[in-house]
Symmetry: C2
């Protein structure tokens, strides 16, 4: 595990950059899970998953507890909090963007100024709950 902010952010963002690892975290958000269970949805070998778990562990996003021959994996969300807090300093930049868009729309067509989240759902399974 990691002790200072810079390393926490390095390892946390790196861990979150892989879709398999993000899917593993989503699975764990429904409850603790064994390694085999975690590996099941993916078309890769168990050692591959084992490596992904090391990466998540390094970031402090996952802990393993030995329970007989099974290892119970648990989500640890704390590093995400630090990641979100780092990103939060930029919030005003994307909010400003939205506000100027909102203002633009208001000026152009005052009757229809609803801001709609454009959802590029095409070819995208992120966020699917199993």
């Amino acid at each position: 595990m990691v002790n200072n902010l810079t390393e926490t952010l390095n390892f946390t963002f790196a861990a979150l950059a892989d879709p398999t690892r993000r899917a593993i975290l989503e699975r764990l958000s429904f409850g603790d899970s064994s390694v085999t269970e975690l590996a099941a949805p993916f078309d890769v070998s168990l050692p591959a998953i084992s490596k992904q778990l090391r990466v998540l562990e390094r970031a402090g996003l996952l802990t393993q507890e030995k329970d007989g021959r099974v290892r119970r994996c648990r989500l640890e969300a704390q590093p995400m909090k630090e990641a979100v807090e780092w990103i939060a300093q930029y919030q005003k930049f994307w909010e400003d963007k939205l506000e100027s868009l909102a203002n633009f729309l208001e000026n152009v067509s005052p009757e229809d100024s609803t801001l709609q989240e454009q959802d590029s759902a095409e070819n995208d399974s992120e966020g699917m709950k199993p």
Copy 2:
């Protein structure tokens, strides 16, 4: 630039995983900047920074606008919003943790239950504004 959520998250988190790139983004949060200006604080070559800018561009976190022989770099925060929204689904996990800690402290010493952010400031310059 990137069109679907999974790729946005892949590239955005990957871009944020490097401390040099995060520092570049912080610099840009104070205003647009040339490549040379961006490179100045770092002890690496200009081509190295140029590569980092490509990574930020790939994630849609930066745009460059040609202005004579200078390229004006600009922060684009939108992908961070998507990153934060992905992480936000885990918010309750770190909040629950804090709450149970708060409850624990209340039970142990009801007079001194203030939650203090432990700040491991040692060897850590993240978040320093230039």
